[in-house]
């Protein structure tokens, strides 16, 4: 019996080692190439790099103007998620408590909007960006990002239900105004759900490709995602430099994932299942 479990454990480990290799080897192979000099790459393109060289990273950082796109990405990934977090919590509380007429309808609308494909609202949205002069401005994408409160509201709604209504009543009797109540009482209480919303939103904004691809076409306004895409598309002569560029853009996410793994996984999955 014991022998049997040992064999099955061995098989399971073998399977998962293969799966894990499938998951990370494409990335590692690119790291391997990015660390080679051009000559070394031409001679031994697939061999393991013994003496790593970091010149490719410098070249990629400079030619792709990555410092600039990095700053753009950071600006987008700070302001859009913060706005989403505040706006969705403010909206979720009245919706959750049915404090205004039509709250049920709004809730249904939020749920339905999750099924809408991006392409179904693209044309009027482009026109909207053009008429309000939001095209090629970071704040345009940030403001339109604030509109993405559907999923956050559903997540917050699920959480706010667990805050007892007696608390609302107590606050009123103590003479606490509605907005003050939301900011002073609900915000601190709802912190776990807000962390989930923030994580989903930050990852979504950082990784967003279509938004910048369509609304931020000017090179100086590109965040990392489209900047990298354009860099690899146009700079297709030096393969090692392209690999280095991809690695530079991947590093921040992988680092964040290594340190915040538990929050990121539970945040993403929790969000999707609630939706």
């Amino acid at each position: 019996m014991k022998r049997k479990t040992q064999i099955s454990h061995f098989l399971i480990h073998a399977l998962f080692i293969i799966i894990c290799l499938y998951a990370v080897v494409p990335m590692l192979s690119i790291v391997n190439v990015a660390l080679k000099t051009h000559e070394d790459f031409l001679k031994h393109p697939t061999a393991l790099t013994i003496a790593p060289v970091f010149a490719n990273f410098v070249t990629a950082w400079n030619t792709a103007n990555m410092g600039n796109s990095f700053i753009n990405s950071v600006i987008l990934a700070i302001f859009a998620p913060l706005g989403v977090c505040v706006l969705s919590t403010m909206a979720a509380f009245p919706i959750c408590r049915r404090h205004f007429w039509g709250a049920d309808f709004i809730y249904t609308l939020f749920v339905m909007s999750l099924f809408l494909p991006t392409t179904a609202s693209l044309i009027p949205k482009i026109m909207l960006f053009k008429t309000f002069h939001l095209m090629n401005h970071l704040y345009g994408l940030i403001i339109s990002g604030w509109a993405g409160i559907a999923l956050p509201v559903l997540i917050m709604n699920g959480f706010l239900k667990s805050i007892p209504c007696d608390l609302d009543e107590a606050a009123v009797l103590d003479g606490c105004g509605y907005l003050k109540y939301i900011f002073r009482v609900i915000f601190p209480l709802a912190r776990p759900a807000m962390v989930t919303v923030l994580i989903i939103s930050i990852l979504g904004t950082w990784n967003d490709f279509l938004g910048p691809y369509i609304y931020l076409t000017e090179p100086s306004k590109r965040p990392l995602s489209t900047g990298l895409y354009m860099f690899v598309g146009t700079y297709s002569t030096d393969y090692t430099v392209m690999c280095a560029g991809v690695i530079i853009a991947t590093t921040p996410i992988v680092l964040a994932y290594v340190f915040l793994q538990r929050y990121i996984i539970s945040g993403l999955v929790h969000g999707a299942v609630k939706g």
């Binding site: 799966i19 998951a23 790459f41 099924f115 494909p117």
Partner: protein, 326 residues
């Protein structure tokens, strides 16, 4: 200002008089304008950037709208839809895109879910390193479409890519993303690689919700490990299957960013799917397709939306009927 005071007076009255009546919801306890102030900013932005564009898109699909053109926009009723289905060139493109969309969503939903469920069941056992395996399998989910796509296009670069080199050393030669026979399947592989960890985690959450007593009573009744899996685990996992399959279908029918990054629809039309077709009509209006107005592109996107909706409703009905309550 006056209304503000009036509102405050009203809420005061409700506290004194019928306060307890509303105790369960708290409605009427707070001043109404403050409630509106709390909801308004989010809802306004939502209405401007989501509701309005979606409704306007339906409206556009019945017009020959062409932005910044000198021709006035006319209401053309169903002309765009007739053009789409009656003109052989458009219909050909639409059917091609539809075929690719169906292949992508079918293969991804089936294979990805089987893999994810298998991984989850195995990793739910107490084996060593299971948290490490989970973390590594989940890693690609966090990377975002550009990196997900570029990592594989670089690895399969026909001249320089490590994977392509190794395969050519083994005697397999191909241009990979440039080969119209396999480009679509490579894209499907990337989509699965990028999402399997996500589906696995949903299955793991579903597995952990199954009470241990069921397995214990199963063991007392003499059920083998395989029987426990078939008779207890799989039936009780069906709610997770529904969630996963629906997410998978919605995601893969509307898959756009990975396709742009890896193949950009090519080679030829080999990886055109419905959203990509809509995007080409939006971007190349009037250049390749002689008459393609924004109205026409809008009509195609409405067709895509209706297709998604129909598939989701059918699959949901089918799967929900098979769920088992604990």
């Amino acid at each position: 200002m006056a209304s503000h005071i009036a509102c405050d007076a009203m809420s005061l009255k409700s506290i004194k008089g019928g306060g307890r009546m509303h105790a369960s919801t708290g409605k009427g306890l707070f001043s109404r304008w403050q409630i509106l102030v709390a909801v308004a900013p989010g809802l306004t932005l939502f209405a401007i950037f989501l509701i309005y564009p979606s409704l306007a898109n339906i409206f556009y699909s019945f017009t020959n709208y062409k932005p910044f053109s000198m021709y006035p926009t006319k209401w053309v009723w169903f002309q765009n839809y007739i053009d789409l289905f009656a003109q052989s060139r458009n219909l050909e493109l639409l059917l091609l895109a539809l075929k690719n969309t169906v292949i992508i969503s079918l293969l991804v939903s089936v294979i990805q879910n089987i893999m994810a469920a298998l991984f989850a069941v195995l990793l739910n056992n107490s084996i060593k390193l299971r948290n490490f395996y989970r973390a590594v399998i989940f890693l690609p989910v966090t990377l975002g479409a550009v990196i997900q796509g570029l990592v594989w296009t670089l690895a399969f670069d026909p001249y320089n890519g490590t994977y392509a080199r190794i395969l050519s050393a083994l005697g397999i030669h191909s241009t990979y993303f440039g080969d119209s026979n396999i480009a679509l399947y490579l894209v499907i592989m990337i989509i699965m690689w990028a999402n399997v960890g996500f589906a696995m985690t949903i299955y793991l959450a579903g597995l952990q919700a199954i009470p241990m007593e069921l397995y214990e009573s199963g063991r007392i009744d003499g059920a083998s490990g395989w029987q426990a899996l078939r008779l207890i685990t799989l039936p009780l996992l069906r709610a997770s299957v529904t969630v996963n399959v629906l997410l998978c279908i919605i995601g893969s029918i509307n898959m756009l960013d990975i396709i742009i990054v890896t193949t950009n629809g090519g080679p030829g039309f080999a990886t055109y799917n419905l959203p990509f077709l809509v995007l080409t009509f939006i971007m190349n209006q009037g250049s390749t397709q002689g008459h393609a107005t924004q109205g026409f592109a809008a009509a195609v996107s409405i067709v895509q939306f209706l297709f998604t909706l129909a598939v989701v409703l059918i699959v949901q009905k089918f799967l929900r009927g098979r769920e088992v309550e604990i």
